[in-house]
Symmetry: C3
Subunit: 371 residues, 3 copies
C-alpha cells in the first residue's frame, strides 16, 4: 500500500572486495570486542536472522537457509557477481558513501557500478586530519593544509561526517576553540603521534567540527551505537545540545546518525532545532524483526521533513540489502497501520514515505542540483 | 468497550484570544527554537497530523483536510465560536489551569465558560516569586511577601507547579536551603534583576519548592520535555529521587508532569514512593499516532492509582481536543487489548480507565470537596 | 506454537514460610519505600493484576478473583500446600537461588522439594563478606577468611551475585583495588561497623567483584530496578562498561540481572562482549501485561545465545508463577509474531525459545556437568 520506489542511502560504506569464509562473514555481522562466546554464533542475532531472511532469495536460495549453505552459494557465484545481485536487489538508487574506513572496501564509483545506482562521497573529518598530519612537517603547515583539505573536500563531497562521539564522547565544549588553543593542541598531537596515529584530542575534534560547519556542507554526527565506542552513554545525542544551539542559524545542516538506543533524544533535537535532522535507518539493521518499532519511536518527535533513511552498511552488501528491506517493510507496516486506524490519511502516509525514503535526503544534500 | 465518560485535565493552559493566521497557528503546534526548516512545516509532525485528524470534524470539515482550509474555516467561525466548539468537543469536564504563562491567554473562568466545564487554578511558583519581586523593595519584604503570597495562593488554587527543571535542571540539592542561604540568594537575585527578570537561582528555586511542600497543596513538577529547557537530560525525573525521598511522609503529594522520554523513570518513582504521582497525558499530544505505546510504557511500573491524565495544552484549543481524544483512544486500545488477551478482566479495565481519566485527579486535588 | 518445555530460573529467592495476611501479601508485590498511598492498593499494579490472572486457577479459583478471596483460599490450603501447588504449576524445573536475603525464606533444598524441581545456590558476595566480618577479629583474619569463604563458596555454588550497584552505584573504578587499598578500606569498615553492618564501601565492593572473577564462577550483577537502590540511574548497566572491558578474556562469565529500564543498554553489552550475558525475565514480573514488549526490547541487540530467563521472585511463590507464565506467554507471542510475519523461520524460533528458557543457562552455569 505504501510505496517507496526510490531509496537514497544517506550513510553507508563500501563492500569488501575479497571472497569471505564463514568466520569472516560472521565477524562482519556485528561490532564486537572479541570473538563470539563459545557455544554461540553471531548468526543468532537480529542482523543474522535478517540476512538469512532477505539475502538467500537474491542468490537463488530459499529464505532462512543455513549460513554455511548461503556462504557456499555466495562463493560459487563469486564476490563480484553476488555483490551485484545483492546491491541491485536492495532497491537503493543513490549511495552516500563514507570513505573513511580502513580495509579493502569498494570506492563510491565501484559501489555505484555494482549497484547500478548513483554514489557520492562523504568525507570523514578525523581521517582527513590524520592524512594531513601524515604529510605535514609543522603545526603551521598542518593547520594550513587541513584548512585547504577541508575546503577541497567540500567542493566534491556531499557531506562531512565526524566520529568525535566515538573517539572522545559527545560532551565536547560547544564553542569553536580559539586559534592559540588549536595550535597548542595540534603541536602536542603531532609531537606524540606516529604515522597513522588516531585523532582523539577534544580541541582538534572541535576544530574539525567547526571547520566543517564553516564549509556549509551538511555535517553528519555519529551518535548512539553507530560505531564501537568507549561507552555508549557518552554518545547520547542529548550531549550535543549546546553544540547544536551554538550552530543554529549558521546555514549548515546537522544530521544525527544512528542514535539508538538514544534515538528518542535525537528525534527531539530534530524537533526543536531547524537545522537538525535525524537518521532512521542504521538502527534497523541491528534490530531486525524489531525494525518497525524502532522506526516508530523515531517518528514520535521528529518532524517528518527531518528524518532520513540510511543503511549504515559496511563491508557486506548483505547489510545494504537488509537495511533497505527492513526500512521499506517497517515503514509500510508502521504507516499502513496508522492509515488503517484512521490516524493518518493514505495520501499523507504516501507523501511522508517518499520524504523519508529519498525526498528529505535530496533536499538536505542538494542531490538534484548539478555539481 | 472501555468508556471514560468524564475527563479531568490535570494540567493545561488557557487558549489565545486572538484570530490566528496559518503561520502563527503552526508555530503553536510545537516548542521549537527557530522557525521550521526551509522545505518543511510543523504540520508534518505527529501533533500536526493529530490536529488534522480530530479537529476539522468539530468545525464541520472532513478529517485530514489541508491546514489552509482548516484555518480558513476557523477564521470564518471566529476565534470564540471555534474555541467553544473545540473545547466542548474535547470531552473534558474539569480543567486545572496553570496561569503562569505570558501571552493573551484565557483565564480559568473563561476557559470553563467556553468549554461548558469547571476550571480551577494552578499557581506557578516561579512567576509568583517574580511578581512579588517586582513589587518588593528589600530582601526582607520580598521574603515576607513571598511567604504571604504562597499562603494566599494555597487557599484558592488546587496545586502549585514548578519549572525548576527547565530553569536550572532537576539536579537540585534535596534539602530545604537555610534561612541565611535564602536571604543571601534573594539579595543577589534582587540586586541583579530588572522588572520581570526570570528566577533561575537554584537556592530560590529550592526555597519555592519547600514553601509549596509546606503548604500541603499538591506540587506539580515539570520533567522531561514539558517545556523547552536547556538540556533534556537535566529534566530526567530520576534526578528528583533525593528530593522525593526528602519530602516523603510530609503529607504533600508530588505530581511529575510530562516525563517523556524519561516517563519510565517517572513511573518508577510513582511506584516506589507513596506521595508521587505521574502524568500520562501531555506526552500523547506530542507523539500522536504513537500515543497508545507511550501510555502503555507509563502503565508498566506506575501503580494505576497514581496515574493522572492531562493535555498540557497551551494556546490552541485544538491541543486540548487532541490531548483528550488521543488519551481516550489510546486508553481504550491499550486496556481493550489486555482484556482481549485475558491479561486483565473487563471490570478491572473499566475501573482503571475511570481512575486515570478522572478518579485519581479528584482524589489527589480534592475536587469533590467544597472549596 | 512455540514450546518451552523446561524452564531454568537463573535468579530467584526462596518463599516465605509463614501464613500471610492481605496486607503482608500486598507489601510483597512491590519494592516500595512506605505503605501504599491512601486510596490506592499495590494490587492495582501490573504485578498485582498478573498474580490475579495466573495464580487463582492453580488454587482452584477463577482468574482475576478479588484479592481477599484469593488470600482466604490460600490460608485455607495453608502456606505449604498452596506453595507446592503454585511452584509445581510454574513450569520451572531448576531454580538458581540467591540465599543472601534476610527473612524467613526457604532454602534451595526446600524450594526444590516444594516445587518438585532441582535447585542450586547462588552466593551473594556482600552478605558473605558481612558474615565473615562478624566472625573475624582483625583486618588480616578478615581478608584471609574472606578469601577462603569465596573459595569454598565457589566449590558448591553455581554463581556469585553482587548488589554493588544497589549499595554504591555501578560507577565503580574498573580495575581491582591494590592490596594496601583493600587493607585500608577493610580496616576502616571493620572499625566502624557493628555486627550485621552492611557493606557499601566501594573499595571492598570492587575487591569482592574481583575475588569472584578470580574464582571462575559466573558473576551476576544487579542492574536497573532489580532491588531498591539509592537512585535508578546509578544502576544503569552502561556504567559497567569499563569493568566489563577489564574482565574480558579472563574466562569468567558476567550476567547482567534485571536491567529494566536500561535493558537496551544491558543487551548492547551482551552484544559487544563475549563474556557478558543478559537476564530477560525479572523485568517481566514488574511489567505484567507489557511483558512481550519488554522482552522484545531485550531481543533487539542481545545475541540469542546470551539471553537467560529468570523470575527474580522473592518471598511469594506467586511471583515464581507469574515470572514463568509471563515469560512463556511473552516469548510465544513475540517469536510467534515474527514467524507469522516471515521474519523468522519456525525452526529458528523454536531453537531460540529453548535457548532462552533453559539452554543458555545450562551452558553458562554448567548445569549438565556433574558436581
Amino acid at each position: 500500500m505504501i510505496e517507496t520506489p526510490s531509496l537514497v542511502d544517506q550513510y553507508c560504506h563500501g563492500v569488501l572486495r575479497t571472497e569471505l569464509g564463514l568466520g569472516t562473514f560472521e565477524a562482519h555481522l556485528s561490532h564486537t570486542e572479541g570473538p563470539p562466546a563459545p557455544g554461540t554464533t553471531l548468526f543468532d542475532t537480529q542482523t543474522g536472522f535478517a540476512v538469512r531472511r532477505w539475502c538467500p532469495p537474491l542468490l537463488g536460495l530459499e529464505p532462512h537457509c543455513a549460513p554455511a549453505r548461503y556462504l557456499a552459494r555466495r562463493r560459487e557465484l563469486g564476490v563480484l557477481a553476488s555483490g551485484r545481485r545483492l546491491l541491485r536487489g536492495s532497491g537503493i538508487t543513490t549511495y552516500l558513501v563514507d570513505t573513511g574506513l580502513p580495509g579493502d572496501l569498494t570506492e563510491p564509483g565501484e559501489l555505484a557500478c555494482a549497484g547500478a545506482a548513483e554514489a557520492r562521497e562523504i568525507v570523514r573529518l578525523e581521517l582527513l586530519a590524520e592524512q594531513v598530519a601524515d604529510t605535514s612537517g609543522t603545526v603551521e603547515s598542518f593547520l594550513a593544509n587541513l584548512a585547504e583539505s577541508v575546503h577541497a573536500a567540500a567542493a566534491n563531497a556531499v557531506a562531512f561526517t565526524s566520529v568525535a562521539g566515538v573517539r572522545h564522547g559527545l560532551a565536547l565544549a560547544p564553542e569553536p576553540p580559539g586559534p592559540g588553543e588549536v595550535r597548542g593542541a595540534a603541536g602536542r598531537w603531532l609531537a606524540g603521534r606516529g604515522v597513522g596515529g588516531e585523532l582523539s584530542d577534544p580541541v582538534l575534534l572541535r576544530h574539525l567540527l567547526w571547520s566543517a560547519v564553516a564549509s556549509g556542507l551538511p555535517l553528519q554526527l555519529h551518535a548512539g551505537l553507530g560505531a564501537p565506542g568507549l561507552r555508549t552513554d557518552r554518545t547520547d545525542p542529548v550531549l550535543l545540545t549546546d553544540f547544536v544551539r551554538a550552530t543554529a542559524g549558521l546555514g549548515t545542516d546537522l544530521v544525527l546518525l544512528h542514535g539508538y538506543p538514544y534515538h528518542r533524544n535525537a528525534a527531539h533535537l530534530a524537533g526543536v532545532f531547524p537545522h537538525v535532522h535525524v537518521d532512521c535507518g542504521a538502527a534497523l539493521v541491528r534490530t531486525g524483526a524489531r525494525a518497525a518499532t524502532v522506526l516508530a519511536e523515531i517518528l514520535e518527535l521528529a518532524p517528518f521533513g527531518k528524518i532520513l533513511f540510511s543503511t549504515g552498511a559496511q563491508g557486506l552488501p548483505e547489510l545494504h540489502v537488509v537495511g533497505a528491506r527492513l526500512f521499506r517493510e517497517a515503514l509500510g507496516r508502521v504507516l499502513g497501520t496508522w492509515v488503517d486506524e484512521g490516524a493518518w490519511s493514505l495520501a499523507d502516509a504516501q507523501r511522508v514515505a517518499g520524504m523519508l525514503a529519498s525526498g528529505n535526503a535530496r533536499r538536505v544534500y542538494g542531490l538534484d542540483q548539478g555539481t
